[in-house]
Symmetry: D2
Subunit: 433 residues, 4 copies
């Protein structure tokens, strides 16, 4: 499945005919991700935070129907009832099916949802080929493609949790590429105090795509600090566990400790209790000691850093390090769907800081909030990002299940500090001695 080129988000200046090709490629990839799943697999919702694969397939299609096709006077809805079923959280355009109930939707069937996708795609492509989209609809379409890629990642993290929740714990795929390589030693890279331009110009006024939460560009004074040259490895994290890290209250945020006790955390999600194996999208595997640790909550990442006498980086420290670098790394297109060791200098674009992009999302110590001068997307899509700027933490850099080309240096992901089912890891930072 080498879809890297096809799935890269289209440049803003692309002609519509070429855009139609990109559209088709990204849309096809979602269907391909669901191919290993039975209709029953595609319906599982193993927790309220996750959604069924079928729902992801339908919701992303609804997004195009509602925001691209739906603005046209002659549009006839595919099925009027589905607006309710597949709206996620856009309350300004109408009520939505309750999120924790998504797993009850045996109807429409997976087959019907796939037909829905085909029908909507056909119409969208026809409009593109006819150059019939007005500028606003074209913007919504571009946003829809980035949105689709976000759900491609969630489809994988959600189905991983779903399969793991079944006592049989089957693999998602048996044919995934395996990658094991020794991690290079952890070293510190110093950065001096500097004023950094953070963020991206507001799209669509500016032609390069970015989410509203990345804008506007603004100046931030980043203090002198050091960053680790790679993420923390499984072996390093296992040492923390064996040293009693999950039993030492002084290492933990108060809320994290309470959660750790209530849930009985003793290791990252998906590890076995012997600390020898972990559940992956390819099933249970021997733990690769060199690979970046992942499926950590913010609380675990933070406790680990404290145990090391270090701390988490701010999102500005991270972005200052990543700015100007190409967003290369092990993304979903490598078809591993699991992080691997930071083996070789030169693997990334920069030998100084490896794996900034791909492999694992990196928790930062920055709470998710608005940049000064932030303006939500116009219209109904104003709910896209802004209303979640509370109680969440920023992660940076993408992961092994992020589509190639989806992230950039200014990209801001965010999750609640309790979240463990994303491919979330940790890169250490520290203050000058």
């Amino acid at each position: 499945m080498n879809t890297a080129v096809a799935s890269a988000p289209p440049p803003a200046t692309m002609h519509d005919a070429a855009l139609a090709v990109r559209y088709a490629g990204i849309r096809a990839r979602s269907v391909a991700l669901a191919a290993p799943l039975s209709p029953e697999d595609a319906m599982v919702q193993s927790m309220a935070d996750a959604s069924p694969s079928k729902w992801h397939l339908a919701h992303t299609t609804w997004f195009f129907e509602r925001f691209v096709l739906g603005s046209r006077p002659d549009h006839a809805p595919f099925d009027a009832d589905w607006h309710y079923l597949f709206n996620s959280y856009y309350q300004s355009i109408g009520p939505a099916h309750a999120r924790p109930q998504r797993g009850l939707l045996s109807r429409p069937s997976l087959a019907q949802v796939l037909e829905y996708r085909a029908r909507v795609d056909q119409q969208v492509i026809a409009l593109l080929q006819a150059d019939a989209l007005d500028p606003q609809a074209r913007h919504q379409l571009l946003l829809g493609l980035h949105h689709e890629q976000q759900h491609q990642e969630l489809l994988l993290t959600d189905i991983k949790h779903a399969l793991w929740s079944n006592p049989l714990q089957p693999a998602y795929r048996d044919d995934l590429a395996r990658h094991e390589a020794p991690a290079i030693p952890l070293e510190w890279r110093d950065a001096p105090e500097q004023i950094v331009e953070i963020g991206a110009p507001a799209w669509p006024a500016h032609p390069e795509f970015a989410y509203d939460n990345e804008s506007p560009v603004h100046r931030v004074l980043v203090p002198a600090h050091a960053l680790a040259n790679r993420p923390v490895s499984n072996a390093e994290y296992r040492a923390f566990i064996e040293a009693g890290g999950y039993r030492d209250v002084t290492l933990w945020m108060s809320e994290g400790w309470a959660l750790c006790q209530a849930e009985g955390w003793q290791h990252p999600l998906y590890w076995d209790d012997a600390l020898e194996r972990e559940f992956t999208l390819g099933g249970w595997q021997r733990l690769d000691r060199h690979a970046p640790v992942c499926h950590l909550s913010y609380f675990e990442a933070d406790a680990y850093a404290r145990w090391q006498g270090a701390r988490l980086p701010t999102e500005f420290e991270w972005e200052a390090a990543a700015a100007g670098q190409p967003a290369h790394g092990h993304f979903a297109d490598a078809d591993r769907l699991h992080p691997g060791g930071a083996s070789a200098p030169g693997q990334g674009a920069d030998t100084a800081l490896l794996q900034l992009f791909g492999d694992v999302w990196e928790w930062t110590s920055s709470a998710y909030g608005a940049y000064p001068g932030f303006r939500p997307f116009a219209g109904n899509l104003g709910e896209y990002n802004g209303k979640f700027m509370n109680g969440q933490w920023i992660l940076r850099g993408g992961s092994c299940v992020t589509p190639e080309g989806h992230v950039r240096a200014s990209y801001r992901n965010f999750f609640a500090p309790s979240a463990r089912w994303q491919f979330s890891g940790v890169r250490l930072a520290r203050d000058p001695a």
Copy 2:
């Protein structure tokens, strides 16, 4: 689907070859009940009290594998992991998958479960044809057939709730028989004080099958009372609603009132707010004013009776009336799957008290408990009934989704007083003036 003859539970004296035919008939009926469902439909668990259809199909099969085949030294389990998945609550034979998580089981697939059924059936039938079952295994098999019939009813009540929980609210079947007929006027039938033999002799010591909770036969003094000649109708219950029955605290048990307020009850489950239509296994239908009201909780049945200056019957009053009557009525085999009006004297076996059997289960004022001298089934199946003798109320008579031949005058069904998703109705009783 005329399966009435095939599905009747086998007489205890039946030869094994004939028993094999009955076994096959009852087992086939379960599969037939699931035929209208997609694999996705068969996986839905819409609340913790309900189970997916696929789970019913697998669990009933597991029962035969575990208790009939499993006792043989040469038995190789179909899949050892499935013992955990499809045990329901027999804690003495091992742990079981958590009940509220049954809806997460995308694996095994419906197809695999159907293959499981076929394989187990093949082995059981071969044993029967070879006269190879020892008496204990034969008893377990007979019990398993009654058990299968219970799950046939639950499959229907659970899928009704599942489909109703989907905002699209599809019908289970579009081809169900419709039956509407005027209900005869409600009249009272007096019964004098008498000592009644209640219950059934303990099976398998006695050859006629009965559940352990129906035994032993014992004498009960039933006081003078009167019973209504038929269950309460939709029209009668609607009058209660329109008279403010759901807003009058003095009519309700304290716990029932709290539940009514918390859940916002204003009418029976599955009615629309206009009191005009109800959701059935055939989809939304106009409310039949003559049909027995159903999908009432105990609390609603009890409040209605109080509003009428009446009360619920005891299970002994009910059994005294039903004893000696043939268990005729509208059961699942009538293929309506919905109750209908008590139209014609002579419809049941007795003109005096219509619809004692079939149409709707009748809540009684008797808490579920042990009869004096009660002994649970021997061995592992001792958990079958006894451990639920707490916090539940007896219902009598079977319903329109009960397999024909499954119930009898001594049959005791039981549910929590909050339960509304069974076909549960109410027959009034009263004390002498």
Copy 3:
């Protein structure tokens, strides 16, 4: 504190002047029970099921104000706001302060509540001395005295739980009488099948007081059975614990087992984990092996009986044994406030069955329900008992914290099967061999 004579409930034929004396005696006893408590102690509500002592003192007074004084045209409420605060559950006469919030009522103060008591008592006694009560008010007053005694018991069980919930676990009193005596051996007393008159004639039509739930008298066929000659002792119950009774799922009701696991039950409430000591109203004491075990839930009593190959008695078996016996035993007036061993034949009124009355309430296997022909008290007090006839089990006989003279053979107490903070124990029954 020898209040036995004063606190006995008045005969119905008593003249009003004498009734005033009885009234004063019973009312004074409530105040005496609160005397060991500070204003702060009297405010504690340690769980939603319990109430603060101050609330008991106020609510019982409100009962007289509302139902005796309040019916008089010239009555000026002591404080109109208090109707809301001190109504318990009489929804037909107005809303009430939420039960779980009773512990927040720092105002009115204990001193104000005591003044409230004095003022209401003064008015009630004046009316009695003037023979100014009409028959209905007189009935409400008599009912209020029985109601007051119920709350005297609850005051003690609730303050026991409150003090135990404080990590300091102080004693309620340090001067309680201690009673230890060897329990006589457990023996079985057979009873033949018989028809028994159960219950009491309906008061106030009949002059002897009884609660509405005890009426009407009706005939019940009680089967042949045997009852143990005394309640189960601490030593006997400890053997059950040491034999693994709390770890054997087959002994428990399904709901009881779930509760046992969720709450971590390993012994009766108030025992220490070493099974050596128990918390009493006199503080921590060495466990008296001869005394009746108490503070058992229904589930524990039932599991113990099953372990013994026995069962709980029905309330009819119990009443048949107690009928005609004087209600003598160790009640609160013995000033032990803790059960003691059934040491000596002749201690009770009957050598055959000891401790039927007093010491510990005895769980029965009878769910709380209405007798045939049951009618609630007329008017607002119809909510007194009837609306709780769901999900509760009958206990019989009174306890060491029940006021002497409060109970009788037909008296029906009831609690949820999970309740452990009452002085609830177990007497075994069994069916004929």
Copy 4:
């Protein structure tokens, strides 16, 4: 009660004899705050987030006993059990009584707690007068005085909630000063981009006291922005309500909206539904339209700002404005215990931005986190602040119930975004046009 001078926190260079005087003054103030309360009032815990007044009095004393007296080899604990009762959250020094259970502590009595205070004070003062404290103990004592002042504020906010939770809703005091004055018009004050020194040098290395979370001093680039010259008034906030602000989902954070719906928020805590009156520590009062609105959650403050086309300030914008100004304003020492209008230029130390200090805490858009280079206090007190740096938002400036002298420009208060029972208001900020 003019305790302003006595209660100001002592300069670090103060001699021990003078420090003893300050100690006594601050300690006496806590007792004075509890003087209007009965022992019963002092025990109420109306929600898990609040504590009883008695607990505040005891816990602050425990702090001195544990951290100042307890380090001395000859110290005999006042009562060893109390360590468990009155530890708050210092898990590294031992377990603590569960926070939501603090309201159950009828023992020790308020009188005993007051005696405890007197005994500990006597010992501490004796040590001070003898110059017998080593430097570490002296630091703990100084920290204890600031800690005491925090609890003085909490005692007032908690008792306000407790009294309001009682249906009688009594006043805390009837003799509070009233202050009503017209608010000056709201105007914007521009600030250019600048690099600002944020925070305070680390104490005790630096002699001026500051909490660990205020350190170290570090440079922050604050962007160009404008701040409102005063907090939002009740009249302004009422306009937001009347314009439908509580019904417009687009104004709210997603989590805030869910909470608003679940709790039925329609106005600030303590307002009546008619928007005419508010509950104060002096009881119900007519709403002063000129006074700063208070008792807002973060979500309400944020939604209001969005409705105004504005935003909340960052904590750095706030501190940049406040730096160098004397911390003057209406604090608890004004003995109003309620905010009042920003009436007169010159009222604060700066005519440009009124009421930065006192009246109401001002929510900022800054999540509570560590400054770069942050180090928790050494030793056991490392748990004081750091472990709460998650899920909370910064408030600045102190309120009408903060002791005078307690806050400073670098002072960081923090609460969960749902918190409404503090005196929390809002000052608007906006980005340059």
